[in-house]
């Protein structure tokens, strides 16, 4: 982040660490942040009500997206079609495509 952009954010009353939370929260929630940086963010969030609220908001967003995974499975018609095609290819486990659904 450029120095002027950082200065602008800090001018809004955000501390330097709050700005870091804004920049890196998604990396942090995705567990993609280096250990040292993650520790610093976690320590700040524990003591800053604004950042804690923001973390909760973003964590809820990611949870809602993750829940979509449970909502959609391959349809039976596709499983039947694929089973027939695999059988035609000599696949010995073709019938398991259908059994998987049970």
């Amino acid at each position: 982040m450029s120095a002027p952009a950082r200065a602008q954010l800090e001018g809004l009353g955000l501390s330097s660490t709050c700005v870091d939370v804004l920049r890196h929260l998604w990396d942090y929630l995705d567990d993609e942040m280096a250990t040292g940086g993650a520790h610093r963010l976690r320590a700040h969030i524990a003591t800053c009500a604004t950042c804690r609220e923001y973390e909760g908001y973003q964590a809820c967003f990611l949870d809602a997206l993750a829940k979509l995974r449970a909502e959609l499975d391959a349809p039976t018609s596709l499983r039947e079609r694929l089973a027939a095609k695999l059988k035609g290819q000599g696949c010995g486990c073709w019938d398991k495509v259908r059994k998987e659904q049970a």
């Binding site: 993609e32 908001y57 990611l62 997206l65 596709l78 000599g90 696949c91």
Partner: protein
């Protein structure tokens, strides 16, 4: 972090149109091999639902998704000898799936240069501020959010949609998603952050359009 080497089958001819996806593979059946079939059943078949979801997110059409999934699994089966045991079969299947989709649409990977994603991450803070202002700061905790979220995700442009699907819905690491998409990790991060910000902006609009009641009156806090 280690990067596994894996091969992706590409030697089954070019598909030049969506209709060709549904073609029968004319290759003769493979010779019976019980060990191969047992491995295929154990490693590949459990990911059918995941591959279907990914295909649907790419095609946004159930019939096209069926064709892409079928082609993906047939290629995977015939190329099973190129799968390296011990590597992630789901990633291998997703990579085949994406290649099948891209070939079917004759679509080149979009070249979108983004910065490192921080601009979008910071901008998401502004979306949050707007949500708070309107009384929607608990929006994502609402039980009835899923349909709006699906709609917003469907409307999200590529390549942002793929990044969000792979990382947020399919729970892949940035590294694995980068391998599936064939781009550097930094690009996945940029696309992911842009996708998330766009989704959040869209959801805020949808919430208002659909008449979601704000959790509290604006300005009450």
């Amino acid at each position: 972090m280690t990067t596994a080497t894996y091969a992706v089958p590409t030697a089954f001819g070019d598909l030049t149109g969506a209709s060709e996806l549904a073609r029968d593979i004319s290759d003769p059946p493979l010779a019976r091999d019980e060990a191969r079939d047992a491995e295929f059943e154990r490693e590949a078949l459990p990911w059918l639902d995941d591959v279907y979801r990914f295909a649907l997110s790419l095609t946004r059409d159930e019939s096209d998704a069926d064709d892409v999934v079928q082609e993906t699994y047939l290629r995977a089966y015939r190329s099973w000898h190129t799968f390296i045991p011990g590597t992630e079969c789901r990633r291998w299947l997703f990579t085949i799936c994406r290649n099948v989709f891209l070939r079917s649409r004759e679509r080149q990977r979009p070249t979108i240069d983004l910065e490192d994603g921080e601009q979008d991450a910071v901008a998401a803070g502004s979306v949050y501020a707007a949500a708070r202002e309107k009384g929607y700061d608990d929006l994502y905790a609402r039980l009835d959010l899923a349909p709006a979220l699906r709609e917003a995700l469907d409307a999200l442009a590529e390549p942002f949609r793929s990044a969000v699907i792979l990382v947020d819905v399919e729970d892949m690491t940035y590294e694995t998603a980068a391998q599936v998409m064939g781009v550097p990790i930094g690009t996945v991060r940029s696309r992911l952050f842009r996708g998330r910000r766009l989704l959040q902006e869209q959801l805020l609009t949808v919430a208002q359009d659909m008449g979601f009641a704000p959790a509290r009156a604006a300005g009450a806090r």
